[in-house]
Protein backbone atom coordinates (compact mmCIF):
# COMPACT_ATOMS: atom_id res chain seq x y z
CA UNK A 1 0.00 0.00 0.00
CA UNK A 2 1.64 3.21 -1.09
CA UNK A 3 1.90 6.17 1.22
CA UNK A 4 -0.21 8.21 -1.20
CA UNK A 5 -3.01 5.68 -1.23
CA UNK A 6 -2.94 5.37 2.54
CA UNK A 7 -2.99 9.09 3.23
CA UNK A 8 -5.61 9.79 0.59
CA UNK A 9 -7.80 7.10 2.11
CA UNK A 10 -7.20 8.44 5.60
CA UNK A 11 -8.23 11.94 4.52
CA UNK A 12 -11.37 10.58 2.89
CA UNK A 13 -12.16 8.53 5.98
CA UNK A 14 -11.84 11.61 8.16
CA UNK A 15 -14.47 13.30 5.98
CA UNK A 16 -16.85 10.42 6.65
CA UNK A 17 -15.97 10.25 10.34
CA UNK A 18 -16.67 13.98 10.53
CA UNK A 19 -20.18 13.29 9.28
CA UNK A 20 -20.57 10.52 11.87
CA UNK A 21 -19.43 12.85 14.64
CA UNK A 22 -22.16 15.29 13.68
CA UNK A 23 -24.68 12.58 14.44
CA UNK A 24 -22.77 11.43 17.50
CA UNK A 25 -22.32 14.61 19.53
CA UNK A 26 -25.01 16.67 21.18
CA UNK A 27 -23.23 19.97 21.65
CA UNK A 28 -23.60 22.30 18.71
CA UNK A 29 -20.07 23.55 19.29
CA UNK A 30 -18.70 20.05 18.76
CA UNK A 31 -20.83 19.66 15.68
CA UNK A 32 -19.44 22.83 14.13
CA UNK A 33 -15.92 21.75 15.13
CA UNK A 34 -16.48 18.44 13.36
CA UNK A 35 -17.53 20.34 10.28
CA UNK A 36 -14.32 22.32 10.41
CA UNK A 37 -12.20 19.19 10.72
CA UNK A 38 -14.08 17.77 7.79
CA UNK A 39 -13.20 20.87 5.78
CA UNK A 40 -9.53 20.37 6.59
CA UNK A 41 -9.72 16.74 5.53
CA UNK A 42 -11.46 17.71 2.32
CA UNK A 43 -8.76 20.26 1.57
CA UNK A 44 -6.15 17.63 2.35
CA UNK A 45 -7.77 15.27 -0.13
CA UNK A 46 -7.65 17.91 -2.82
CA UNK A 47 -4.08 18.83 -1.94
CA UNK A 48 -2.93 15.20 -1.99
CA UNK A 49 -4.52 14.71 -5.38
CA UNK A 50 -2.98 17.93 -6.61
CA UNK A 51 0.48 16.93 -5.45
CA UNK A 52 0.11 13.46 -6.83
CA UNK A 53 -1.01 14.65 -10.26
CA UNK A 54 1.11 17.80 -10.30
CA UNK A 55 -1.98 19.89 -10.81
CA UNK A 56 -1.52 23.48 -9.65
CA UNK A 57 -5.21 24.27 -10.13
CA UNK A 58 -6.18 21.53 -7.76
CA UNK A 59 -3.77 22.89 -5.17
CA UNK A 60 -5.43 26.26 -5.53
CA UNK A 61 -8.81 24.62 -5.04
CA UNK A 62 -7.42 22.94 -1.94
CA UNK A 63 -6.42 26.31 -0.62
CA UNK A 64 -9.85 27.72 -1.33
CA UNK A 65 -11.57 24.75 0.29
CA UNK A 66 -9.36 25.12 3.33
CA UNK A 67 -10.23 28.78 3.57
CA UNK A 68 -13.95 28.48 2.99
CA UNK A 69 -14.93 25.07 4.34
CA UNK A 70 -12.47 24.75 7.19
CA UNK A 71 -12.33 28.35 8.35
CA UNK A 72 -14.93 30.79 7.05
CA UNK A 73 -18.08 28.67 6.99
CA UNK A 74 -17.48 27.00 10.38
CA UNK A 75 -16.45 30.40 11.68
CA UNK A 76 -19.74 31.93 10.61
CA UNK A 77 -21.66 29.09 12.21
CA UNK A 78 -19.52 29.25 15.33
CA UNK A 79 -20.55 32.88 15.76
CA UNK A 80 -24.19 31.86 15.75
CA UNK A 81 -23.43 29.18 18.31
CA UNK A 82 -21.37 31.60 20.38
CA UNK A 83 -24.58 33.51 21.12
CA UNK A 84 -25.68 30.45 23.04
CA UNK A 85 -22.54 28.45 23.83
CA UNK A 86 -24.18 25.62 25.74
CA UNK A 87 -26.70 24.91 22.98
CA UNK A 88 -27.32 21.22 22.51
CA UNK A 89 -29.16 18.93 20.21
CA UNK A 90 -30.75 17.48 23.31
CA UNK A 91 -33.69 15.57 21.95
CA UNK A 92 -33.15 14.61 18.32
CA UNK A 93 -36.00 13.06 16.36
CA UNK A 94 -34.02 9.85 16.01
CA UNK A 95 -31.94 9.13 19.11
CA UNK A 96 -28.18 8.99 18.88
CA UNK A 97 -27.55 5.22 19.05
CA UNK A 98 -30.23 4.59 16.44
CA UNK A 99 -28.82 7.40 14.26
CA UNK A 100 -25.38 5.86 14.46
CA UNK A 101 -26.68 2.44 13.51
CA UNK A 102 -28.51 4.04 10.60
CA UNK A 103 -25.29 5.82 9.64
CA UNK A 104 -23.54 2.45 9.66
CA UNK A 105 -26.20 0.97 7.43
CA UNK A 106 -26.01 3.99 5.11
CA UNK A 107 -22.26 3.54 4.85
CA UNK A 108 -22.71 -0.11 3.99
CA UNK A 109 -25.42 0.86 1.51
CA UNK A 110 -23.17 3.46 -0.06
CA UNK A 111 -20.51 0.81 -0.47
CA UNK A 112 -22.93 -1.35 -2.43
CA UNK A 113 -24.49 1.50 -4.37
CA UNK A 114 -21.17 2.97 -5.49
CA UNK A 115 -20.13 -0.22 -7.28
CA UNK A 116 -20.71 1.12 -10.83
CA UNK A 117 -18.76 4.33 -10.15
CA UNK A 118 -15.93 2.42 -8.53
CA UNK A 119 -15.81 0.06 -11.50
CA UNK A 120 -15.80 2.99 -13.88
CA UNK A 121 -13.12 5.10 -12.22
CA UNK A 122 -11.05 2.50 -10.41
CA UNK A 123 -7.61 3.07 -9.02
CA UNK A 124 -6.65 4.40 -5.61
CA UNK A 125 -9.00 7.38 -6.00
CA UNK A 126 -12.11 5.87 -7.51
CA UNK A 127 -12.39 3.14 -4.94
CA UNK A 128 -12.82 5.74 -2.21
CA UNK A 129 -16.04 7.05 -3.76
CA UNK A 130 -18.23 5.03 -1.34
CA UNK A 131 -16.88 7.18 1.51
CA UNK A 132 -18.00 10.36 -0.25
CA UNK A 133 -21.36 8.85 -1.03
CA UNK A 134 -21.72 7.76 2.59
CA UNK A 135 -21.01 11.35 3.67
CA UNK A 136 -23.76 12.61 1.38
CA UNK A 137 -26.25 10.07 2.75
CA UNK A 138 -25.33 10.74 6.37
CA UNK A 139 -25.69 14.46 5.73
CA UNK A 140 -29.18 13.97 4.36
CA UNK A 141 -30.04 11.79 7.31
CA UNK A 142 -28.74 14.43 9.72
CA UNK A 143 -31.13 16.94 8.15
CA UNK A 144 -34.01 14.51 8.57
CA UNK A 145 -33.22 13.35 12.08
CA UNK A 146 -32.16 16.52 13.87
CA UNK A 147 -34.32 19.27 15.26
CA UNK A 148 -32.08 22.29 15.59
CA UNK A 149 -31.85 24.65 12.66
CA UNK A 150 -28.10 24.67 13.12
CA UNK A 151 -27.90 20.90 12.73
CA UNK A 152 -29.87 21.14 9.54
CA UNK A 153 -27.49 23.68 8.08
CA UNK A 154 -24.59 21.45 9.07
CA UNK A 155 -26.37 18.51 7.45
CA UNK A 156 -26.65 20.48 4.24
CA UNK A 157 -22.96 21.27 4.38
CA UNK A 158 -22.18 17.61 4.97
CA UNK A 159 -24.04 16.80 1.78
CA UNK A 160 -22.06 19.45 -0.03
CA UNK A 161 -18.75 18.21 1.36
CA UNK A 162 -19.65 14.67 0.39
CA UNK A 163 -20.42 15.76 -3.15
CA UNK A 164 -17.16 17.68 -3.29
CA UNK A 165 -15.26 14.61 -2.10
CA UNK A 166 -16.89 12.45 -4.76
CA UNK A 167 -16.10 15.09 -7.36
CA UNK A 168 -12.43 15.23 -6.35
CA UNK A 169 -12.11 11.47 -6.38
CA UNK A 170 -13.97 10.83 -9.61
CA UNK A 171 -12.51 13.52 -11.81
CA UNK A 172 -9.36 14.34 -9.88
CA UNK A 173 -10.64 17.87 -9.82
CA UNK A 174 -13.55 19.15 -11.76
CA UNK A 175 -12.49 22.01 -13.96
CA UNK A 176 -11.06 24.39 -11.43
CA UNK A 177 -13.51 27.12 -12.28
CA UNK A 178 -16.50 24.90 -11.50
CA UNK A 179 -15.09 24.01 -8.13
CA UNK A 180 -14.43 27.67 -7.40
CA UNK A 181 -17.96 28.49 -8.37
CA UNK A 182 -19.57 25.80 -6.25
CA UNK A 183 -17.44 26.59 -3.22
CA UNK A 184 -18.38 30.24 -3.43
CA UNK A 185 -22.02 29.26 -3.85
CA UNK A 186 -21.79 27.38 -0.61
CA UNK A 187 -20.24 30.38 1.06
CA UNK A 188 -23.03 32.58 -0.21
CA UNK A 189 -25.64 30.08 0.91
CA UNK A 190 -24.17 29.87 4.37
CA UNK A 191 -24.10 33.62 4.72
CA UNK A 192 -27.80 33.75 3.88
CA UNK A 193 -28.57 30.86 6.20
CA UNK A 194 -26.53 32.43 8.95
CA UNK A 195 -28.61 35.59 8.75
CA UNK A 196 -31.74 33.48 8.73
CA UNK A 197 -30.54 31.50 11.73
CA UNK A 198 -29.79 34.62 13.68
CA UNK A 199 -33.28 35.92 12.84
CA UNK A 200 -34.87 32.65 13.83
CA UNK A 201 -33.13 32.49 17.15
CA UNK A 202 -33.93 36.14 17.76
CA UNK A 203 -37.57 35.24 17.15
CA UNK A 204 -37.24 32.41 19.64
CA UNK A 205 -37.20 29.47 17.26
CA UNK A 206 -34.50 26.91 17.53
CA UNK A 207 -36.43 23.75 16.87
CA UNK A 208 -37.54 23.61 13.29
CA UNK A 209 -40.66 21.69 14.22
CA UNK A 210 -41.85 24.82 15.96
CA UNK A 211 -42.05 26.47 12.54
CA UNK A 212 -45.11 24.39 11.92
CA UNK A 213 -46.99 26.81 14.11
CA UNK A 214 -46.48 29.42 11.38
CA UNK A 215 -48.58 27.25 9.11
CA UNK A 216 -51.60 27.24 11.38
Amino acid sequence: MSAFANSLASAAVVVTVGAVVVLWRHRLRSIVAALSVQGVALAATAALLGIHEHDRGLLAVAGLVLLVKAAVVPGLLARVVAANPGARESDPLVNVPASLVVAGLLTLGAFVAARPIVALVGGPTGRLVPLGLATVLIGFFAMVARRRAMSQVVGLLLVDNGIALVAFLVTSGVPVIVEFGSTLDVLFGVVVLRVLLARLSAAGFSDLDQLRSLHD
Binding site: N6, S10, V13, W24, V96, L100, A103, G104, F111, L131
Partner: protein, 315 residues
Protein backbone atom coordinates in the same frame (compact mmCIF):
# COMPACT_ATOMS: atom_id res chain seq x y z
CA UNK B 1 4.69 -26.31 22.36
CA UNK B 2 8.24 -26.70 23.57
CA UNK B 3 10.08 -25.81 26.74
CA UNK B 4 11.28 -22.45 25.45
CA UNK B 5 7.79 -21.27 24.59
CA UNK B 6 6.51 -22.41 27.96
CA UNK B 7 9.26 -20.41 29.58
CA UNK B 8 8.25 -17.41 27.50
CA UNK B 9 4.68 -17.89 28.62
CA UNK B 10 5.83 -17.94 32.22
CA UNK B 11 7.70 -14.68 31.68
CA UNK B 12 4.57 -13.06 30.26
CA UNK B 13 2.47 -14.39 33.09
CA UNK B 14 4.91 -13.09 35.66
CA UNK B 15 4.96 -9.69 33.99
CA UNK B 16 1.18 -9.43 33.92
CA UNK B 17 0.75 -10.70 37.47
CA UNK B 18 3.39 -8.40 38.90
CA UNK B 19 2.77 -5.50 36.56
CA UNK B 20 -1.05 -5.44 36.61
CA UNK B 21 -1.38 -4.04 40.14
CA UNK B 22 1.56 -1.72 39.52
CA UNK B 23 -0.19 -0.37 36.42
CA UNK B 24 -3.25 0.26 38.53
CA UNK B 25 -1.06 1.99 41.12
CA UNK B 26 0.58 4.10 38.46
CA UNK B 27 -2.77 5.25 37.11
CA UNK B 28 -3.85 6.20 40.63
CA UNK B 29 -0.65 8.17 41.15
CA UNK B 30 -1.12 10.08 37.90
CA UNK B 31 -4.66 10.82 38.90
CA UNK B 32 -3.60 12.04 42.33
CA UNK B 33 -0.89 14.27 40.91
CA UNK B 34 -3.32 15.88 38.52
CA UNK B 35 -5.66 16.48 41.42
CA UNK B 36 -2.87 18.19 43.30
CA UNK B 37 -2.23 15.33 45.69
CA UNK B 38 0.85 13.26 46.36
CA UNK B 39 -1.16 10.10 46.16
CA UNK B 40 -0.33 6.58 47.23
CA UNK B 41 2.90 4.90 46.21
CA UNK B 42 2.81 3.02 42.91
CA UNK B 43 3.08 -0.22 44.84
CA UNK B 44 -0.05 0.50 46.88
CA UNK B 45 -2.26 -2.09 45.12
CA UNK B 46 0.32 -4.76 45.91
CA UNK B 47 0.41 -3.69 49.52
CA UNK B 48 -3.38 -3.92 49.62
CA UNK B 49 -3.32 -7.37 48.03
CA UNK B 50 -0.67 -8.59 50.46
CA UNK B 51 -2.68 -7.36 53.40
CA UNK B 52 -5.98 -8.74 52.09
CA UNK B 53 -4.37 -12.13 51.64
CA UNK B 54 -3.90 -12.34 55.38
CA UNK B 55 -7.44 -11.43 56.31
CA UNK B 56 -10.51 -13.52 56.87
CA UNK B 57 -12.81 -14.61 54.05
CA UNK B 58 -16.50 -13.95 54.48
CA UNK B 59 -19.35 -15.51 52.62
CA UNK B 60 -22.97 -14.28 52.56
CA UNK B 61 -25.24 -16.87 54.11
CA UNK B 62 -27.34 -17.26 50.97
CA UNK B 63 -24.49 -17.91 48.57
CA UNK B 64 -23.47 -21.14 46.90
CA UNK B 65 -20.34 -22.59 45.34
CA UNK B 66 -20.54 -20.06 42.51
CA UNK B 67 -19.56 -17.28 44.90
CA UNK B 68 -16.51 -19.19 46.06
CA UNK B 69 -15.37 -20.19 42.59
CA UNK B 70 -15.79 -16.87 40.75
CA UNK B 71 -12.59 -15.12 41.96
CA UNK B 72 -10.58 -18.18 40.97
CA UNK B 73 -12.15 -18.17 37.52
CA UNK B 74 -11.45 -14.47 37.11
CA UNK B 75 -7.75 -14.83 37.87
CA UNK B 76 -7.39 -18.12 36.03
CA UNK B 77 -8.89 -16.83 32.80
CA UNK B 78 -6.75 -13.70 32.93
CA UNK B 79 -3.67 -15.84 33.61
CA UNK B 80 -4.47 -18.12 30.68
CA UNK B 81 -4.69 -15.16 28.35
CA UNK B 82 -1.52 -13.65 29.83
CA UNK B 83 0.39 -16.80 28.92
CA UNK B 84 -1.02 -17.10 25.39
CA UNK B 85 -1.35 -13.54 24.13
CA UNK B 86 1.38 -11.82 22.11
CA UNK B 87 2.47 -9.37 24.79
CA UNK B 88 6.22 -9.65 25.17
CA UNK B 89 6.83 -12.02 22.32
CA UNK B 90 5.40 -13.40 19.12
CA UNK B 91 6.33 -16.89 20.20
CA UNK B 92 4.18 -17.72 23.22
CA UNK B 93 3.09 -21.31 23.75
CA UNK B 94 0.43 -22.58 21.31
CA UNK B 95 1.12 -19.63 19.02
CA UNK B 96 -0.90 -21.18 16.21
CA UNK B 97 -4.05 -21.31 18.32
CA UNK B 98 -3.82 -17.89 19.94
CA UNK B 99 -7.01 -16.66 18.44
CA UNK B 100 -8.35 -13.16 18.99
CA UNK B 101 -11.88 -14.40 19.47
CA UNK B 102 -10.78 -17.11 21.84
CA UNK B 103 -8.91 -14.50 23.90
CA UNK B 104 -12.01 -12.31 24.07
CA UNK B 105 -14.24 -15.18 25.06
CA UNK B 106 -11.86 -16.52 27.69
CA UNK B 107 -11.81 -13.09 29.31
CA UNK B 108 -15.60 -13.04 29.01
CA UNK B 109 -15.78 -16.19 31.12
CA UNK B 110 -14.25 -14.21 33.97
CA UNK B 111 -16.81 -11.42 33.63
CA UNK B 112 -19.68 -13.89 33.56
CA UNK B 113 -18.37 -15.70 36.63
CA UNK B 114 -18.18 -12.45 38.55
CA UNK B 115 -21.70 -11.44 37.46
CA UNK B 116 -23.12 -14.79 38.56
CA UNK B 117 -21.31 -14.49 41.88
CA UNK B 118 -22.79 -11.04 42.38
CA UNK B 119 -26.30 -12.42 41.85
CA UNK B 120 -25.41 -15.25 44.21
CA UNK B 121 -24.91 -12.85 47.11
CA UNK B 122 -28.66 -12.18 47.25
CA UNK B 123 -28.12 -8.45 47.69
CA UNK B 124 -29.63 -5.63 45.68
CA UNK B 125 -26.23 -4.15 44.87
CA UNK B 126 -24.92 -7.38 43.41
CA UNK B 127 -27.88 -7.70 41.10
CA UNK B 128 -27.57 -4.09 40.07
CA UNK B 129 -23.90 -4.44 39.25
CA UNK B 130 -24.43 -7.66 37.33
CA UNK B 131 -27.28 -6.18 35.34
CA UNK B 132 -25.37 -3.06 34.39
CA UNK B 133 -22.07 -4.76 33.69
CA UNK B 134 -23.65 -7.31 31.40
CA UNK B 135 -25.80 -4.75 29.61
CA UNK B 136 -22.66 -2.82 28.79
CA UNK B 137 -20.91 -6.05 27.89
CA UNK B 138 -23.68 -6.93 25.46
CA UNK B 139 -23.60 -3.54 23.80
CA UNK B 140 -19.81 -3.54 23.55
CA UNK B 141 -19.75 -6.86 21.78
CA UNK B 142 -20.72 -5.65 18.27
CA UNK B 143 -18.05 -2.95 18.33
CA UNK B 144 -15.51 -5.47 19.54
CA UNK B 145 -16.19 -8.23 17.03
CA UNK B 146 -16.57 -5.88 14.07
CA UNK B 147 -13.28 -4.25 15.07
CA UNK B 148 -11.72 -7.70 15.14
CA UNK B 149 -13.18 -8.31 11.69
CA UNK B 150 -11.56 -5.09 10.45
CA UNK B 151 -8.23 -6.03 12.02
CA UNK B 152 -8.40 -9.48 10.51
CA UNK B 153 -9.00 -8.24 6.97
CA UNK B 154 -5.41 -7.94 5.74
CA UNK B 155 -4.70 -11.59 6.55
CA UNK B 156 -8.19 -13.04 6.69
CA UNK B 157 -7.18 -14.60 9.92
CA UNK B 158 -8.17 -13.90 13.49
CA UNK B 159 -4.96 -15.38 14.80
CA UNK B 160 -3.76 -12.71 17.18
CA UNK B 161 -0.07 -13.53 16.75
CA UNK B 162 -0.41 -13.35 12.98
CA UNK B 163 -2.15 -9.97 13.19
CA UNK B 164 0.49 -8.48 15.48
CA UNK B 165 3.32 -10.05 13.49
CA UNK B 166 1.89 -8.67 10.27
CA UNK B 167 1.82 -5.22 11.83
CA UNK B 168 5.42 -5.48 12.97
CA UNK B 169 6.53 -6.59 9.52
CA UNK B 170 4.48 -4.19 7.40
CA UNK B 171 4.31 -0.78 9.01
CA UNK B 172 1.99 0.41 6.25
CA UNK B 173 -0.72 -1.88 7.65
CA UNK B 174 -0.50 0.01 10.91
CA UNK B 175 -1.04 3.34 9.20
CA UNK B 176 -3.89 2.12 7.03
CA UNK B 177 -7.15 3.91 7.85
CA UNK B 178 -8.96 0.63 8.36
CA UNK B 179 -6.53 -0.42 11.07
CA UNK B 180 -6.67 3.00 12.73
CA UNK B 181 -10.46 3.08 12.78
CA UNK B 182 -10.60 -0.39 14.26
CA UNK B 183 -8.20 0.69 16.99
CA UNK B 184 -10.27 3.79 17.77
CA UNK B 185 -13.21 1.51 18.25
CA UNK B 186 -10.99 -0.74 20.35
CA UNK B 187 -10.29 2.16 22.72
CA UNK B 188 -14.00 2.51 23.43
CA UNK B 189 -14.18 -1.23 23.99
CA UNK B 190 -11.27 -1.20 26.43
CA UNK B 191 -12.67 1.69 28.45
CA UNK B 192 -15.96 -0.15 28.74
CA UNK B 193 -14.58 -3.63 29.38
CA UNK B 194 -12.18 -2.51 32.08
CA UNK B 195 -14.66 -0.16 33.71
CA UNK B 196 -12.74 3.08 33.32
CA UNK B 197 -14.17 6.57 32.94
CA UNK B 198 -16.36 7.69 31.21
CA UNK B 199 -18.06 4.30 31.45
CA UNK B 200 -17.58 3.62 35.14
CA UNK B 201 -15.80 5.45 37.91
CA UNK B 202 -13.44 2.91 39.48
CA UNK B 203 -13.02 4.95 42.67
CA UNK B 204 -16.66 5.65 43.47
CA UNK B 205 -18.13 4.94 46.88
CA UNK B 206 -21.73 5.50 45.91
CA UNK B 207 -23.40 2.16 45.41
CA UNK B 208 -26.08 3.56 43.16
CA UNK B 209 -23.60 4.84 40.58
CA UNK B 210 -21.49 1.71 40.62
CA UNK B 211 -21.15 -0.72 37.81
CA UNK B 212 -18.19 -3.01 38.26
CA UNK B 213 -17.45 -2.19 41.90
CA UNK B 214 -20.97 -3.26 42.87
CA UNK B 215 -20.17 -6.77 41.70
CA UNK B 216 -17.54 -7.32 44.35
CA UNK B 217 -19.01 -5.61 47.41
CA UNK B 218 -19.37 -8.94 49.21
CA UNK B 219 -15.83 -10.19 48.73
CA UNK B 220 -13.25 -9.86 51.47
CA UNK B 221 -9.80 -11.10 52.40
CA UNK B 222 -8.06 -13.45 49.96
CA UNK B 223 -11.13 -13.47 47.71
CA UNK B 224 -10.95 -9.71 47.33
CA UNK B 225 -7.22 -9.93 46.80
CA UNK B 226 -7.83 -12.37 43.96
CA UNK B 227 -10.52 -10.16 42.42
CA UNK B 228 -8.30 -7.07 42.63
CA UNK B 229 -5.43 -8.96 41.10
CA UNK B 230 -7.63 -10.41 38.38
CA UNK B 231 -9.13 -7.04 37.44
CA UNK B 232 -5.72 -5.41 37.25
CA UNK B 233 -4.37 -8.27 35.16
CA UNK B 234 -7.25 -7.84 32.75
CA UNK B 235 -6.56 -4.13 32.45
CA UNK B 236 -2.90 -4.86 31.78
CA UNK B 237 -3.81 -7.45 29.15
CA UNK B 238 -6.22 -5.15 27.33
CA UNK B 239 -3.72 -2.30 27.29
CA UNK B 240 -0.90 -4.67 26.34
CA UNK B 241 -2.88 -6.03 23.40
CA UNK B 242 -3.82 -2.51 22.39
CA UNK B 243 -0.26 -1.18 22.33
CA UNK B 244 0.91 -4.18 20.36
CA UNK B 245 -1.82 -3.65 17.81
CA UNK B 246 -1.00 0.05 17.58
CA UNK B 247 2.76 -0.27 17.52
CA UNK B 248 4.32 -3.71 17.84
CA UNK B 249 7.70 -2.06 18.33
CA UNK B 250 10.25 -4.15 20.11
CA UNK B 251 8.10 -7.24 20.46
CA UNK B 252 10.33 -10.31 20.55
CA UNK B 253 10.04 -12.31 17.36
CA UNK B 254 11.77 -15.31 18.91
CA UNK B 255 12.25 -16.77 22.33
CA UNK B 256 15.87 -15.60 22.43
CA UNK B 257 16.68 -14.23 25.92
CA UNK B 258 17.99 -10.92 24.64
CA UNK B 259 14.95 -10.39 22.42
CA UNK B 260 12.78 -11.22 25.42
CA UNK B 261 14.44 -8.58 27.55
CA UNK B 262 13.94 -6.03 24.79
CA UNK B 263 10.33 -7.11 24.42
CA UNK B 264 9.78 -6.90 28.15
CA UNK B 265 11.18 -3.38 28.35
CA UNK B 266 9.34 -2.25 25.23
CA UNK B 267 6.00 -3.58 26.41
CA UNK B 268 6.43 -2.06 29.85
CA UNK B 269 7.28 1.34 28.41
CA UNK B 270 4.41 1.29 25.95
CA UNK B 271 1.85 0.20 28.54
CA UNK B 272 3.12 2.79 31.00
CA UNK B 273 2.67 5.52 28.41
CA UNK B 274 -0.82 4.36 27.49
CA UNK B 275 -1.72 3.93 31.15
CA UNK B 276 -0.67 7.50 31.87
CA UNK B 277 -2.66 8.75 28.89
CA UNK B 278 -5.74 6.86 30.06
CA UNK B 279 -5.33 8.25 33.58
CA UNK B 280 -5.03 11.80 32.26
CA UNK B 281 -8.09 11.25 30.11
CA UNK B 282 -9.95 9.96 33.16
CA UNK B 283 -9.22 13.06 35.19
CA UNK B 284 -10.53 15.30 32.45
CA UNK B 285 -13.73 13.34 31.77
CA UNK B 286 -16.97 13.02 33.65
CA UNK B 287 -18.77 9.75 33.97
CA UNK B 288 -21.52 9.27 31.42
CA UNK B 289 -24.98 8.48 32.63
CA UNK B 290 -25.80 4.80 32.21
CA UNK B 291 -28.36 5.53 29.55
CA UNK B 292 -26.01 7.73 27.59
CA UNK B 293 -23.55 4.85 27.33
CA UNK B 294 -25.25 3.28 24.29
CA UNK B 295 -24.28 6.46 22.42
CA UNK B 296 -20.62 5.95 23.22
CA UNK B 297 -20.74 2.26 22.39
CA UNK B 298 -22.68 2.84 19.18
CA UNK B 299 -19.98 5.33 18.25
CA UNK B 300 -17.38 2.65 18.79
CA UNK B 301 -19.46 0.30 16.70
CA UNK B 302 -19.77 2.65 13.75
CA UNK B 303 -16.05 3.36 13.78
CA UNK B 304 -15.48 -0.37 13.49
CA UNK B 305 -18.01 -0.60 10.65
CA UNK B 306 -16.23 2.23 8.86
CA UNK B 307 -13.03 0.29 9.42
CA UNK B 308 -14.46 -2.75 7.69
CA UNK B 309 -15.84 -0.68 4.81
CA UNK B 310 -12.55 1.15 4.37
CA UNK B 311 -10.68 -2.11 4.49
CA UNK B 312 -12.96 -3.56 1.83
CA UNK B 313 -12.73 -0.41 -0.26
CA UNK B 314 -8.95 -0.33 -0.14
CA UNK B 315 -8.58 -3.91 -1.25
Amino acid sequence: MNLASLLVGAVQLALVVLGGPLLLGLMRVVRSRLEGRVGPPVSQPWRDIAKLARKQRTRPSESSWIFAVAPLVLVATAATVAVLAPLVTLAPPLASSTDFIAVIFVLLVGSVALALAALDTATAFGGMGASRALTIGALVEPALLVAVLALSMPLHSTNLIAIVANGSRHASTLLGPSHLLALCSFIVVILAESGRLPVDNPSTHLELTMIYEALILEYSGPDLAAVTLGESMRLAIWLGLFVNLVAPVGIAATAHPLALVVGLVALTLKVVVVGIVVAIFEVTTAKLRLFRLPELLAGGFILAVLGVVTGAVMR
